[in-house]
């Protein structure tokens, strides 16, 4: 309906915000015709509001930006350093990258991050799977093949980011998860029946009880707008999908969200709102958090998942830790489903981005 209204206006229309310059784009979130400068302004202002309203940072905090070299994290690094300067957040910003050791993918994207380091003047720290775990993803894939390799990568990345953040002695870690990602996660958790994750997947800050909390300043920022921003600002980012993520096709849920956005752009925000509003009883029991007996990382089991996987790799039993090999694991039934390939096909966020 807003689309019709916009189309009815004559060509060469003016920006609906400043009413001075010619509109250069249709804002994906609101379908308003606005000029470039106004787009930058509203885009940055919205993120600023999110940061202020949710009190994401305190002055003089050290903050690491999880940087993959992709569009989300590049825009995040750019906008955050910009806002930090403009609004005097007083933050010490760092770039934190994980080198999974994927030739032809991560080495190239790391070059992008290294250029960003110079462009934005943010110190960069790279932690690699090789130095943390003794394995690169290339070696892991050589051993276990293309199936399940994302399990290793995902588990290792989560921990690698935390370890990198600890090395940088930062107080917080921010990631480039955008509104589309979160809406998708809400849907996937409904489709999977995962009520515990459903209840926490929309919170803007997670892991507040852990050593390094993580937050998502792009929680309400549309992917399309991020791409647009990066494009207009000519930001230097890397846009190839991981070579080991065979289902580079974006799964059902992702496509569904894109379809929804086409009919009603607001739907993405509505899904997030629903996710926040769901009446989930807080008495749902949460796994007790302890520490891994081997590496000391937070874990609900005796050993953390990364150590289990690593043990499997080192002993030449790579299937260890995947699926239902460890009986005591409460996620057994879920893993079985995953093995049937059902969950795989509805999953979509391609690997290689900073996912956790």
């Amino acid at each position: 309906m807003e689309g019709e209204a916009a189309a009815a206006k004559p060509k060469g229309r003016l920006c609906v915000i400043c009413n001075q310059k010619r509109a250069a784009l249709k804002r994906p979130k609101t379908l308003e015709q606005i000029c470039r400068e106004c787009f930058y302004a509203v885009f940055e202002e919205e993120i600023h509001r999110v940061i202020v309203d949710n009190q994401l940072f305190k002055p003089s905090e050290r903050v690491a930006i999880g940087a993959s070299g992709g569009k989300d994290s590049t825009v995040l690094a750019y906008v955050l350093s910009e806002l930090n300067r403009r609004h005097n957040y007083g933050l010490d910003l760092f770039l934190l990258s994980v080198d999974e050791g994927i030739t032809g993918y991560r080495d190239d994207s790391l070059e992008t991050v290294k250029r960003n380091e110079i462009q934005y003047g943010l110190p960069l720290k790279v932690v690699s799977y090789k130095e943390l775990y003794g394995w690169t993803m290339d070696e892991i894939v050589k051993l276990i093949g293309m199936k399940n390799n994302c399990t290793f990568c995902g588990v290792f990345r989560r921990q690698a980011l935390d370890r990198g953040a600890a090395l940088l002695k930062v107080d917080k870690l921010v990631t480039g998860h955008n509104a589309d990602d979160i809406a998708e996660t809400v849907l996937l958790n409904i489709l999977r029946g995962d009520i515990a994750r459903l209840s926490r997947c929309t919170s803007i800050t997670t892991g507040e009880d852990g050593p390094i909390p993580r937050c998502k300043p792009f929680k309400y920022t549309y992917e399309k707008e991020i791409v647009m921003y990066a494009y207009f600002k000519k930001l230097d980012y890397f846009s190839t999908e991981c070579i080991y993520s065979p289902n580079a096709y974006r799964g059902f849920a992702r496509e569904f969200i894109k379809d929804l956005e086409r009919i009603r752009p607001r739907a993405i925000l509505d899904i997030i709102k629903s996710g926040e509003d769901f009446r989930i009883s807080t008495s749902t029991k949460m796994p007790e958090q302890g520490n891994c007996e081997r590496c000391g990382y937070i874990s609900s089991q005796k050993w953390c998942k990364a150590c289990v996987l690593l043990e499997g790799l080192n002993r030449g039993l790579p299937k260890l830790g995947i699926g239902r090999t460890r009986g005591a694991n409460h996620e057994t039934s879920k893993s079985i489903k995953q093995r049937n390939g059902t969950t795989d096909s509805i999953q979509s966020k391609q690997c290689g981005s900073l996912d956790f």
């Binding site: 309906m1 809400v186 849907l187 958790n189 409904i190 489709l191 999977r192 029946g193 995962d194 009520i195 459903l198 059902f252 569904f256 379809d259 929804l260 009919i263 009603r264 607001r266 739907a267 925000l269 509505d270 899904i271 709102k273 629903s274 996710g275 926040e276 509003d277 769901f278 009446r279 989930i280 009883s281 059902t342 096909s345 509805i346």
Partner: protein, 467 residues
């Protein structure tokens, strides 16, 4: 599976032999007949059937539906039953829902909302079967203390908002009358009520007003949803006018799965839990969903199996977001046949509202009589919750933080104030953006809407004072 070897089972392990038999047959291992036990009657009969014949998992006597008809040969568990076991299993789900949540009590007069589709057709059939059973018990009992609940049927005639030719419509209504008259005894009254009846009688042309109201909504999805809300008002009105005490909807698991996604996508996450319980007593006449645990696939099969006549003329055509979600769920279901149930179960874990249980009956007599029968599970009272306020349009409970506090000036409500009393979703997809048109829009709304929202607060209070 202890009896794989040839002669070990003379008798006594009936179950095992048949299980083995079934498995072997299903694995197409029938060409090794000497492996099969030969002293079991059913195993013997199983061998005479075509190669792919499989016995019913429940009674282990008859062939399963998968083997009798290719039509039912699906991946799901349903097809592993024989026709009779399937029927009793499905009816069992209905009966369990009714008995464990005290949905229908002997003193009730229930109104079944019949759309012509398979779900409401089965709801009608099951309610009828239950009534028949109650009648038999009544006649057989000595003291006849438990009356038999009454059943009526209602069809909401939506021709003012549907593009169905009048001729076809009239024929469909004739068919409907035939269906209802065939579900007897006990005889059931069919009410065919046009949607515009929600407007007071003195209004000039209800149908025009209805059209104007619906056409004022620009969003396709919003319009469809508004018609749905108005349909519920129609049902409430019929039930009140003719003295019914419960409204039965044929809402099934599959429909709920779609509704869960629809509500999520429309930002109605807070109120979602209200819509998907067995009981929805936020209305003056409580609404019950006894088919909540049945899949639409099962309901379709039952209609097929028992040749229950349905009417396709009014089959709803979704548009906008609702259509997108319907096709999305279909896609998911094709990829994994249990997906609908999973979605349903996820949403089932959300905390229901206070009004999602049967209000206690005021009448002491009926209470005593009915209490003898009713088992009540899942009725956890939670008194600490503050009373809800409800959306003026869709009657969804509102989240307190979303309700803008507004003080009544001069006791009259301006259009803007009423808008603030609507849920965010209705504000976006139903109400006109233009505040000048807003007044007009609210004036078109059926008067009942006001009354009914007023009622809600009072009924909540009444509930509280009762305890």
């Amino acid at each position: 599976m202890s009896c794989n070897s040839q002669n070990c089972c003379q008798s006594g392990c009936y179950k095992d032999t048949i299980l083995d038999d079934r498995e072997e047959v299903s694995l197409a291992l029938t060409n090794a007949p000497n492996e099969m036990p030969f002293n079991s009657v059913s195993a013997g009969s199983g061998r005479n059937h075509p190669e792919n014949s499989v016995l019913c998992v429940k009674c282990k006597l008859n062939e399963s539906m998968a083997s009798t008809s290719a039509e039912y040969n699906t991946d799901s568990d349903i097809s592993r039953f024989c026709g009779n076991c399937f029927r009793s299993n499905l009816y069992g789900k209905f009966r369990l829902a009714v008995s464990s949540n005290a949905l229908i009590s002997p003193s009730d007069n229930v109104l079944v909302a019949f759309s012509g589709g398979t779900s409401s057709r089965v709801a009608l059939q099951f309610v009828h079967e239950m009534q028949l059973k109650a009648l038999k018990n009544f006649e057989a009992s000595r003291d006849r203390s438990l009356p038999v609940f009454g059943v009526g049927v209602v069809f909401i005639d939506e021709r003012s908002s549907l593009a169905v030719p009048t001729l076809e419509f009239d024929k469909a209504i004739e068919d409907m009358k035939l269906i209802v008259s065939n579900i007897a005894p006990p005889a059931k009254k069919l009410h065919v009520v046009p949607t515009e009846d929600i407007f007071p009688l003195d209004s000039i042309d209800g149908r025009e007003r209805f059209k104007e109201l619906v056409d004022a909504v620009h969003d396709d999805t919003g319009r469809e949803d508004l018609v749905k809300y108005l349909r519920m008002l129609s049902l409430q009105k019929v039930a009140q006018d003719y003295g019914y005490s419960k409204i039965v909807l044929g809402t099934c698991t599959s429909r709920i799965a779609c509704h869960v996604l629809e509500a999520t996508v429309k930002g109605q996450g807070y109120s979602l839990a209200a819509d998907i319980q067995y009981v929805d007593a936020r209305w003056k006449i409580p609404v019950i969903l006894p088919l909540r645990d049945c899949l639409s696939q099962e309901l379709n099969i039952l209609c097929n199996l028992d040749s229950l006549k349905t009417i396709d003329a009014f089959k709803g055509h979704h548009s906008g977001i609702n259509a997108l979600i319907t096709s999305f769920v279909k896609l998911l279901q094709a990829e994994n046949p249990s997906r609908e149930s999973t979605i349903f179960r996820t949403a089932g874990k959300l905390t229901p509202f206070r009004f999602n249980r049967m209000p206690e009956a005021d009448d002491l007599n009926s209470k005593l009589a009915t209490q003898r029968r009713q088992k009540k599970y899942n009725l956890k009272p939670n008194e600490s919750l503050p009373p809800e306020s409800f959306c003026r349009i869709c009657n969804a409970p509102l989240k307190l933080s979303d309700v803008k506090s507004c003080n009544l000036e001069n006791g009259t409500l301006s259009a803007e104030v009423i808008r603030d009393k609507c849920c965010m979703s209705c504000q976006f997809q139903v109400l006109p953006k233009d505040t000048s048109v807003l007044e007009q829009f609210f004036s078109l709304f059926p008067q009942q809407m006001e009354v009914q929202t007023e009622y809600n607060s009072s009924s909540e209070e009444r509930l509280q004072t009762l305890r």
